[in-house]
C-alpha cells in the first residue's frame, strides 16, 4: 500500500515538471481545471478503493456454509446495502457533475474584459498568429508563438485554414477546437511570467504531433516594448545581398514586413530572429537548426507543406544569416 502511494506521488511529481502538464497550472483557468481534475481523481480513487475493499470482503466472507440460500422476503439488509451504495454514488456523481459544470462555466469567459485580442489560425502544421487592435496600424502577424502580458485576460479567436485543429496551452487554459469557416473564442490568463508550451490537440494529419507553439508571458512593460518592436519594419540594410537571396528563394511563400516579401502560404517570418523555436515548436531557433530545417525539411517533418528546396550552400548561409538577424 505504501509503495502504491509512493509510486503515485512520484509519477504525479514527474508530471509537474513536464511542459505539457496541466496538473501544474499557472493560470486561473488552468487552476480550476487542475482542481477539478484532482478532485475527480480523488473521488474516483476513493470510490474504487471502497468498492474494491467491499468486493474483497464479500469474496473473503463468502455465504454461510451448507445452508440452502433462501433469502427471506422481508430481509432488508442486502437492499439496505444497495440503497446506501446507490445513495452515496448519486451524491458523489451529482456533486462531480455540478462541480464540472461550474468549472466549465467559469472558464468559458473571462470575468474581466479582455485587454488583448489575438487571432490564431491553425493550418497544417503551424500556427498563424495575428495581433488585433482597434487601430489598424497596430495590428501585425507572427507565427508559432504567442507573447502575452501577465495577469491580463487575453481573448483568442480561433479558426483553421484547412482541417480541424485544437488550441491547447495546458498550463494556461482549456482546449478549444479550431474549425474551418468558423471562429471559436477562448481566453488565456497567466499568473506567472515564463515560457509555456502549447500543442495541437485534435488529430490533423501526418505532423499533428509536431504542431506545437510556445507562449511567452511577460510583464506589461516588456510586452509593450515587444509589441512596438514587432510593429517595426525589418531592419534591412539597403542592397543587402542576403535579402536578395531570400526574396528569390523564399518570398513567394513567406512575408517579412518592411521588405517586398509578401507570401502568405507559409509562416510570417518578420522578426524571426527573436523567436524561441522554429518549425512550430519542433526545434529551438538556432542558426544550425535553421540551416538543417531549410535543407532537410522533409526529413525532419515529413509531409510538411514546405518543399525540399535543394539550395546551394551560399544560399542557405544567406537566408539563415538574414533571418537570424531579424530581431
Amino acid at each position: 500500500m505504501k509503495r502504491l502511494i509512493a509510486i503515485g506521488l512520484t509519477i504525479s511529481l514527474a508530471g509537474c515538471s513536464a511542459p505539457l502538464s496541466y496538473l501544474d497550472a499557472t493560470s486561473p483557468v488552468g487552476g480550476s481545471i487542475a482542481s477539478l481534475g484532482w478532485g475527480l481523481t480523488a473521488i474516483s480513487v476513493g470510490v474504487c478503493l471502497i468498492v474494491g475493499v467491499l468486493l474483497l470482503v464479500a469474496i473473503w466472507r463468502g455465504s454461510p456454509r451448507g445452508a440452502a440460500t433462501v433469502v427471506p422476503v422481508n430481509d432488508r439488509a442486502p437492499i439496505r446495502w444497495i440503497g446506501v451504495g446507490v445513495a452515496i454514488s448519486t451524491v458523489f456523481l451529482l456533486g462531480s457533475a455540478i462541480w464540472t459544470l461550474v468549472t466549465v462555466h467559469s472558464i468559458a469567459g473571462s470575468p474581466r474584459p479582455a485587454a488583448l485580442s489575438i487571432d490564431v489560425i491553425g493550418q497544417e502544421w503551424w500556427w498563424a498568429v495575428k495581433y488585433r487592435s482597434d487601430d489598424p496600424s497596430r495590428e501585425f502577424t507572427t507565427a508559432n508563438q504567442l507573447v502575452i502580458p501577465v495577469d491580463v485576460p487575453v481573448q483568442i479567436n480561433l479558426t483553421s485554414r484547412d482541417v480541424i485543429h485544437s488550441f491547447w496551452v495546458p498550463k494556461l487554459g482549456g482546449k478549444m477546437d479550431m474549425i474551418p469557416s468558423r471562429t471559436n473564442v477562448t481566453w488565456l490568463e497567466a499568473d506567472k511570467i515564463g515560457d509555456y508550451r502549447g500543442q495541437c490537440s485534435e488529430f490533423c494529419g501526418l505532423q499533428h504531433a509536431n504542431m506545437a507553439f510556445n507562449v511567452r508571458v511577460m510583464s506589461q512593460a516588456d510586452f509593450d516594448a515587444w509589441r512596438n518592436q514587432q510593429l517595426q519594419p525589418a531592419a534591412s540594410v539597403a542592397g543587402d545581398p542576403r535579402l536578395r537571396t531570400f526574396m528569390v528563394r523564399c518570398a513567394a511563400c513567406h512575408t517579412v514586413r518592411g521588405t517586398p516579401a509578401g507570401g502568405i502560404l507559409g509562416p510570417d517570418l518578420s522578426h524571426f530572429g527573436s523567436r524561441e523555436t522554429l518549425a512550430a515548436g519542433l526545434l529551438p531557433n538556432t542558426p544550425e537548426n535553421l540551416a538543417r530545417w531549410i535543407n532537410n525539411t522533409q526529413t525532419i517533418k515529413p509531409g510538411a507543406k514546405m518543399p525540399e528546396l535543394h539550395m546551394l550552400a551560399s544560399e542557405t548561409a544567406d537566408v539563415t544569416g538574414y533571418l537570424e538577424d531579424l530581431k
Binding site: D135, P136, S137, R138, E139, F140, S181, L231, P233, A251, A252, C253, T255, R257, G258, P260, G262, G263, I264, L265
Partner: protein
C-alpha cells in the same frame, strides 16, 4: 354693333393670320429656348479652335462639348461612312484621336505606335509613323487589356504613355522622338495606360496597377524636357502623398497626419495601390488639377483593415508643386474594387439657390457626386444606377453607409453585389451640354457574385483575390447597359436609353444638341440631347469602347470619328450572343459620306504593255 366695334373685329380678323406664324414660332421657341435642367455652365478654356479636338476631353474642364453645328438633328440621319483606318493591333481601342489643324494624331494600343494622318489628302494618308517599341513583358502585367486610354498634344509635340512605364514626346511635324522618360518598373507589376494630360506647361501622368499591389502615383513632367518635377503618391506618409499644412480636407475623418500610413496595417501601404489611371481636369482660374486614385491593394479587404487612405479618392492639387489642396475618399475601406479614378467634370451651377463652383464625378460605387471643387464638400450624392452595397449616404460625415451583408469574407460566396468591381460606370467619360445643363454618361446595369481568396504579394503577379461572375441586374435576359442623361444640380436621372450591351464608350455633345456614343456590341448612335430620341445608328465591325470626336476637316465638312475595337473590361461580355470579335478600325463619318477625293491627276489610268515597259515607274 357700331362701326368702331366692327372695325375692330375686321382688324382682328385680318390680323389673325399674322399671329399664326407668331404662335407657331413660339411653339418652336419652346423647344429651342427650353431652359437648362441644372443651370450649370462650364468654362471651355483649353479647347483649341472650334473645328479642332486638341485633347481627349476637348477642354480642361472635361466637358467633351463641341461648338460645331453643321451636323444637326435634321441631317444626322444622312451620316455615312467617309473613311476608315485600321491600325493592325489586337487590343482594346480606348483613346480619342486628336485633330490639330489638318492633322489627326492617334496612338495604337500595344505596341503604342503613333500615327499622324494628313486630313487634307484622301484619308487615311499617313504623314509619319513612330514606333515606340515598348517591352512585351508589360502585356502580362496589364490587368485589363494592353490599352492606351488617350494621348495629348501640346507645344508641337504628341505626348503619351507607353504600356511599359515610359512617357514619350514625339515631334508632331517630323515624328521623331523629342524625349522619353522612364517612370516606373514593369517588374513591380506597374504599367501605364493613362492618357497623359497637359496643362500649365506640364505633363501629368499616372500609373496603373491597382490589381498588382503597386504604389500608386501621379507625376508632373516638364513639357519641354520630360524631366520629372514632382510625384505625388496615393499611399504612404504625408511627404510621399505631398500633404502639408496647406491641406484642407472638408471632412474630419480625413484630417490628421500620415493618414496614408495610419489607416493601414504596418507597411501594408507599400502595396496599397491607389494608382492614377484616369483623366485629369484643370481649373485655370484657381490653378488646381483634379484626379482620382484607384482601389486599394490587395482587392481582398480583410488583409488591410482601416480606411485605406488615399485610395478610391479624389485629390485637388497645385500643378506647380503637387501639394494637395483637399482630398475626398469616395469609398473608405473599399471592399469591391470601386476605384475613384473616374473623371471630374468642372461645372458651375446653382445648388439650393446659391451659385457653386463644383465638379461632377460619377464614381464606380454608383454614386454621382457634385462636390464643391474649392473645398471638397459633397453637395449632392445620388445613385445614378442600381446598387446594393450601400444603404445610404450620410451627408453630415460625407461617408456612405455600408450594408454588412455585402461585405466579403474569404471563402464565402456572396450571390449578388451590385455594382460589380467595374462599377455601373467605369472610366468611360461623360459629356456636358450647356444648353440642356445635363451630363450624358454611358453606364452598365450589372451585378456580380463574389468569393474572396486571401492572396500573397509576389511582385509582378496580381495582388487581387476576387473570384467573380458578372450578370445583368435584371436576370438572364436583362440589359447590361444604357446611356443616361443626368441633372447634376438635383442628382436626378432625366432619361435613359436602355442597351442590351454595356455602354463603355466616351460620349460627346455638340452645339446642335446631338449626343454621340457607342455600345460594346458595335452600335454607334446619335441621339437628341433634349429627348434622348435615337436619331441615327450605325453598326460597326467591333464593339466600341473608344471616345468619339467631332472635327471640321480641311474641306470644311464636319466629321464624327470613333474607333471600334472592343477589349478592356467589356470582355466580361464575351460569352454573350451578339458579342463581336476584336477590331482595330477608326471609323470616320460625314453627311452623305462626303469627303476629300483624289484629284484626277492622281488617279492612275490603264496603259498598254509597251507604254508600261517604257514608263519610269516600272523601275
Amino acid at each position: 354693333m357700331n362701326s368702331g366695334t366692327s372695325g375692330f373685329l375686321l382688324a382682328a380678323i385680318l390680323l389673325a393670320p399674322l399671329s399664326a406664324p407668331a404662335l407657331a414660332q413660339s411653339a418652336q421657341a419652346t423647344s429651342t429656348t427650353q431652359s437648362s435642367y441644372s443651370g450649370a455652365t462650364a468654362d471651355f478654356a483649353g479647347a483649341g479652335q472650334a473645328g479642332e479636338w486638341t485633347s481627349q476631353a476637348r477642354d480642361y474642364a472635361n466637358t467633351r462639348y463641341s461648338p460645331l453645328d453643321q451636323i444637326t438633328p435634321t441631317n444626322v440621319g444622312r451620316l455615312k461612312l467617309a473613311w476608315t483606318f485600321s491600325d493592325g493591333t489586337q487590343y482594346g481601342h480606348e483613346g480619342a484621336p486628336l485633330v490639330v489643324g489638318d492633322t489627326m494624331y492617334l496612338v495604337t494600343p500595344f505596341p503604342n505606335t503613333a500615327y499622324a494622318l494628313d486630313l487634307s489628302k484622301p484619308s487615311p494618308s499617313i504623314k509619319w509613323k513612330f514606333e515606340a517599341d515598348p517591352s512585351p513583358q508589360s502585356i502580362g502585367k496589364a490587368c485589363c487589356d494592353a490599352v492606351i486610354r488617350g494621348w495629348a498634344y501640346a507645344d508641337g509635340k504628341l505626348i503619351y504613355n507607353m504600356l511599359d512605364d515610359h512617357t514619350v514626346a514625339v515631334d508632331a511635324n517630323t515624328g521623331k522622338q523629342v524625349w522619353r522618360t522612364e517612370m516606373d518598373k514593369v517588374s513591380h507589376g506597374v504599367t501605364m495606360t493613362q492618357s497623359a494630360f497637359v496643362a500649365d506647361g506640364k505633363v501629368f501622368v499616372g500609373n496603373s496597377g491597382g490589381e498588382m499591389g503597386v504604389n500608386g502615383w501621379l507625376a508632373a513632367l516638364d513639357l519641354g524636357t520630360g524631366k520629372e518635377l514632382w510625384r505625388a503618391h496615393a499611399v504612404g506618409p504625408d511627404s510621399d502623398v505631398r500633404i502639408d499644412a496647406t491641406f484642407k480636407p472638408f471632412y474630419d475623418w480625413m484630417k490628421g497626419k500620415d493618414l496614408g500610413v495610419k489607416t493601414w496595417p504596418p507597411n501594408a501601404w507599400n502595396t496599397g495601390a491607389g494608382a492614377s489611371w484616369g483623366f485629369v481636369s484643370y481649373d485655370e482660374k484657381t490653378k488646381t488639377i483634379f484626379y482620382g486614385t484607384s482601389n486599394p491593394g490587395p482587392r481582398v479587404p480583410v488583409q488591410r483593415p482601416g480606411d485605406n487612405l488615399w485610395t478610391s479618392s479624389m485629390f485637388a492639387r497645385d500643378p506647380d508643386t503637387g501639394m494637395a489642396k483637399w482630398g475626398y475618399q469616395f469609398t473608405p475601406h473599399d471592399q469591391w474594387d470601386y476605384d475613384g479614378v473616374n473623371e471630374a467634370v468642372l461645372l458651375d451651377m446653382p445648388i439650393e439657390g446659391k451659385m457653386r463652383q463644383t465638379l461632377v464625378h460619377f464614381d464606380r460605387n454608383t454614386y454621382a457626386y457634385t462636390i464643391d471643387r474649392n473645398t471638397g464638400e459633397v453637395l449632392v450624392a445620388g445613385n445614378f444606377a442600381y446598387q446594393n452595397w450601400s444603404t445610404g449616404f450620410d451627408m453630415k460625415t460625407g461617408r456612405p453607409i455600408v450594408d454588412p451583408a455585402r461585405e466579403p469574407k474569404p471563402g464565402v460566396k456572396i450571390d449578388k453585389v451590385c455594382p460589380p468591381d467595374i462599377g455601373q460606370k467605369d472610366w468611360e467619360p461623360p459629356a456636358f451640354s450647356p444648353a440642356t445643363g445635363l451630363l450624358y454618361v454611358g453606364v452598365f446595369n450589372i451585378c456580380m457574385s463574389l468569393t474572396d481568396h486571401e492572396v500573397s504579394y509576389i511582385a509582378g503577379t496580381p495582388y487581387d483575390g476576387m473570384e467573380m461572375q458578372r450578370f445583368s441586374v435584371d436576370g438572364s435576359d436583362g440589359n447590361w447597359g444604357g446611356l443616361l442623361a443626368w441633372d447634376p444640380a438635383h442628382g436626378k436621372k432625366i432619361w435613359e436609353i436602355p442597351e442590351k450591351f454595356m455602354v463603355m464608350s466616351g460620349v460627346i455633345t455638340t452645339a446642335s444638341n446631338l449626343v454621340f456614343y457607342g455600345t460594346t456590341d458595335g452600335w454607334f448612335r446619335a441621339v437628341d440631347a433634349w429627348t434622348g430620341k435615337v436619331l441615327w445608328s450605325q453598326k460597326l465591325g467591333s464593339g466600341i469602347i473608344g471616345q468619339p470626336i467631332t472635327y471640321m476637316g480641311p474641306d470644311q465638312r464636319q466629321y464624327v470619328a470613333v474607333a471600334a475595337g472592343v477589349g478592356g473590361a467589356a470582355m466580361v461580355q464575351q460569352a454573350r450572343d451578339g458579342f463581336l470579335p476584336r477590331g482595330n478600325t477608326l471609323y470616320v463619318f460625314s453627311i452623305n459620306g462626303d469627303t476629300i477625293t483624289a484629284p484626277n491627276e492622281d488617279t492612275p489610268s490603264a496603259v498598254s504593255p509597251s507604254e508600261a515597259s517604257s514608263s519610269p515607274s516600272q523601275q
